[in-house]
Symmetry: none
């Protein structure tokens, strides 16, 4: 039943606080055939008795969980990332349904990111993702328990895999074309440095302006070649600037 | 958002053993707009500290839960009932998907029945239902936590309600957000001129290279604001270059 690519999807929990939640996440992951749990700076013991009690036969997923300190480390090598969010915040970005958006992760080196129980993900963290999922819920109490949210998403991913198998589709796009997120991140760094240098960005407003660039480019799902092209352009701009500079001095 | 009939669906737990599970069920019920919890001969305290801890703002659902001794009492007055089961057992009956079968409950006085954490529902209990749902899961560990199973079913019921509502409306598209193509074209011209100037493009290869940029940006469907931002960036690069130029001359 388990397709090989399902094992490639990372379930990433950022600063999870509740060991019962982490344990429940491990259980539902195993229920749905996902084995790759990444914990970013966990605020509880993922190997303690409470977590293991809830994991039951998913305890092996807790044992093998990868623990890292920052979200970029958790996303290393990923081609696609979706972040979950419970609130609209100031995101101008479209919030999507799990059913419609999560199948987009299948077949890729991909991550599904969940935030803290009480505060979710910060805007900076959200910006590492290309798409944003919100589980629709009643206005009277919209905030889902973390493990319940993971359960619903893992269920939808599993359903999407089954549907894929049933419809016997051939995979449409070769996944090796899409850029890895750390290369894309390097482009954003290059771009920011250049824009600061030419006075388009100011240090105190750089991050909010850069958010807008990130959203725009993330939405295009650039290929490795395209990011190389964008970085080549920045390099050339820098070269032109320094060249004029040298003439000047 | 909440449709009146959603309040008519009873979530029925038969001999639930875990207070954490019962509390989590109350929370996801409130998240999804279901208020009618019926506990058949509960094997734990649904009003204790553990249940209330997991229910958080769903605690009112625990307080108002109906407690009965037998499943027929729980189903009194119902027109439709679906039972959940994790195993095929000896059921000759067809096991269905939550997505396909649960919408059948909407608009009726209806019950969705969940069995014991360890043993599910007996065959006698299953026979009170008209249809049977199984949440598909991986063969390596098919048994879901009770509260996770309830979460997935409540989510599907809520989604079905939303779909019903949406099918009565025309889907609203915000096409006014997207940039007009002539403004986008002006950006491409600005970009090309600048890239020629800095020597990134050469006149004889400019158009094929520019096609690649066009494809990338077109794919993102940029807004008017975003194109203004991109053009502002080009202007600033040109300003920086000419500024250095003037110093030079």
């Amino acid at each position: 039943m388990l397709k090989p690519e399902s094992t490639q999807i990372r379930i990433v929990l950022v600063e999870a606080q509740g060991p019962l939640n982490v344990g429940s996440v491990a259980r539902i992951m195993k229920n749905m055939g996902f084995y790759n749990l990444v914990l970013v700076n966990p605020q509880c013991d993922p190997h303690g008795i409470e977590a293991r009690k809830m994991a039951v036969h998913g305890a092996e997923i807790l044992e093998k969980a990868t623990i890292v300190q920052t979200l970029p480390e958790a996303l290393k090598g990923c081609q696609r990332a979706i972040a979950t969010t419970s609130l609209d915040r100031s995101l101008s970005t479209h919030l999507e349904n799990p059913k419609h958006s999560l199948p987009w992760l299948l077949g890729y080196s991909a991550a599904l990111i969940f935030g803290r129980e009480d505060r979710g993900l910060t805007n900076v963290e959200l910006n590492y993702a290309q798409r944003f999922v919100r589980i629709q819920s009643d206005d009277a109490y919209p905030s889902l328990n973390l493990a319940q949210a993971v359960a619903i998403c893992c269920y939808e991913l599993y359903q999407a895999q089954l549907n894929e198998e049933n419809s016997l589709q051939t995979p449409p796009n070769p996944p090796d074309l899409e850029v890895s997120l750390d290369v894309l991140e390097a482009y954003y760094q290059d771009l920011e440095t250049m824009l600061l240098k030419i006075g388009y960005l100011y240090p105190h407003t750089a991050s909010s302006r850069m958010e807008k660039f990130r959203r725009l480019y993330n939405r295009a799902y650039p290929s490795t070649q395209e990011v190389a092209m964008l970085r080549g352009m920045i390099r050339q701009i820098n070269w032109a600037l320094s060249n004029y500079d040298q003439h000047d001095s």
